[in-house]
């Protein structure tokens, strides 16, 4: 158990050589490799962090873009809905206008038809009424009635106002040779004389008289000369009445002024007017 000093020195040298060799072949390369790897890892981590940040940023960008897209979509949808509503309203309004126009036209044609019908009915009724009246009065006419008529004619002549008398005188005075007196039935001499007398009194001179019978007069007397005519007859009354009624019918049956209808009004309103057409002739 002694120390061999040569061995000691040799071992010190050996150890120092080993230190140098291991430093060169082991520690240095290994530590360098570790450092390099650490650097790589750090770089990778930094890269990963950078990428993560970028990804996050991109995600945020996408989220923002999505938000914008949603907003735009909503805006476009709202606009489209609004446009559609406007278009709908316009189409509805057009359709209503068309319906109104059609309705108005229909009403007008209906009113025209109604008016034509009314007029036709009125004319027909008038004609019927007059033909019945004429027939009734013709049936009733007789000589007795003629007498009464003559009397009435005479009293009318006597009752003429001074202006009427003057007009009468002016008409008959001028170059009058004969006065034509038409009756439905032949007058008695007595009646003829009474008429002559009454006329002469008005005219203030004697005039020739020609007496004729004209059954179309129905009942009454017509006095005519030089285009002037003074008459009192049922026919004249009827004619006058007919012309009056015709004028009234024309006036009344003229198309009623159009009533402006609101779009919501029911077409039934037109139907409700229908009974008027039937009722019209009765009112007249």
């Amino acid at each position: 158990m002694k120390i061999n000093w040569f061995t000691v020195i040799a071992q010190v040298i050996n150890f120092l050589i080993l230190v140098w060799l291991l430093k060169k072949f082991l520690y240095k390369p290994v530590l360098e490799a570790i450092d390099a790897r650490e650097k790589k890892i750090v770089a990778r981590l930094e890269d990963a962090k950078k990428k993560k940040d970028e990804a996050k940023k991109e995600q945020e960008d996408f989220a923002e873009k999505n938000k914008q897209f949603d907003a735009q979509k909503k805006e476009l949808m709202d606009k489209a809905i609004a446009d559609a509503n406007v278009q709908k309203d316009k189409l509805m309004a057009d359709a209503k206008a068309a319906v109104d126009a059609l309705q108005t036209k229909q009403q007008k044609s209906l009113a025209d038809m109604q008016a034509t019908l009314k007029r036709d009915l009125a004319q027909k009724t008038q004609q019927e009424v007059f033909s019945i009246s004429r027939k009734v009065l013709t049936d009733l006419s007789s000589v007795d009635l003629e007498e009464q008529t003559a009397k009435l004619f005479i009293s009318r002549l006597e009752q003429l106002t001074p202006e009427e008398k003057q007009a009468f005188i002016d008409a008959f005075k001028k170059d009058t040779k004969s006065v034509l007196i038409q009756t439905a039935f032949e007058l008695h001499k007595k009646q003829q004389t009474a008429i002559k007398k009454a006329v002469d009194e008005i005219l203030g001179k004697e005039t020739e008289f020609e007496f004729k019978t004209a059954p179309e007069i129905i009942s009454g007397i017509e006095l005519s000369a030089n285009g002037y005519k003074l008459a009192w007859s049922i026919s004249a009354y009827l004619d006058s009445l007919q012309s009056n009624i015709s004028a009234t019918i024309k006036h009344n049956v003229a198309p009623a002024p159009e009533t402006k209808k609101t779009p919501g009004q029911k077409p039934a309103a037109i139907k409700e007017q229908a009974p008027d057409i039937a009722a019209e002739p009765e009112k007249k």
Partner: protein
């Protein structure tokens, strides 16, 4: 019975002696250097590394961390010396599993050589860190009265390092040899296992003490 491999002499010429200790040391040196060269030949810096590289890296980083824990801030500077101490002693002691092998650390000459290396390394690193004046002042700490005690401590701790390692390893080998003559089966194996453990513990103790001594020399300058 030979107590030390020093006694097995292969060649001698006066003072120069080539004994088993030196030859074994060369073999271990060769083993370490070739192994290191082979492993570090294709070191990879990527994330995927070979198994051997992983093992080597683990060893190196562990040594580095140990040095750092003791208090040396720049372990790269000391790992060459301290790491080699650990690896040489460790490998020398681990090889006792080979039959007929006599560890060079079981020779007092080797342990003395290592202890002298530490004795020289302490002022070397101390002077490198704080200059020669700064290093010499450490012997006057805390007061100049402590100078002889500090000097004695330098000598004794070196002696202690040498004898501790030699005693442990030599006794381990000795026990196995004695036990082999008493009970040749099983029991020496258990003692061998204990010897492996002791060998690694001694390698650790030797290198950590060297680190502590170096740190002591370096730290004084820093605390000033």
């Amino acid at each position: 019975m030979k107590l030390s491999p020093d006694e097995t002499i292969f060649w001698q010429h006066g003072f120069v002696t080539i004994n088993l200790t030196i030859v074994t040391t060369w073999a271990i040196m060769l083993l370490l250097v070739i192994g290191a060269k082979l492993i570090t030949r294709k070191l990879q810096t990527g994330l995927r590394i070979s198994r051997w590289q992983c093992v080597v890296e683990m060893i190196v980083t562990t040594i580095n961390e140990q040095i750092k824990e003791v208090g040396l801030d720049n372990p790269g500077k000391y790992i060459g010396f301290i790491g080699t101490l650990f690896l040489f002693i460790g490998v020398s002691n681990l090889c006792i599993i080979f039959p007929g092998y006599e560890p060079p650390t079981g020779s007092l000459s080797t342990t003395t050589a290592l202890a002298i290396s530490v004795l020289l390394a302490v002022p070397f690193f101390g002077i490198a860190e704080g200059g020669i004046g700064g290093y010499l002042k450490t012997y006057l700490q805390p007061t100049w009265i402590m100078l002889p005690f500090n000097l004695i401590s330098e000598i004794t701790r070196t002696l202690a390092l040498a004898v501790r390692l030699f005693g442990n390893i030599m006794s381990g080998g000795m026990i196995v040899a004695i036990l082999l003559s008493i009970s040749p089966f099983i029991f020496p194996v258990i003692m061998n296992v204990l010897g492996l453990l002791t060998g690694m513990v001694q390698a650790y103790i030797f290198s950590i003490l060297a680190t502590v001594y170096i740190a002591g020399a370096v730290q004084v300058k820093k605390t000033k």
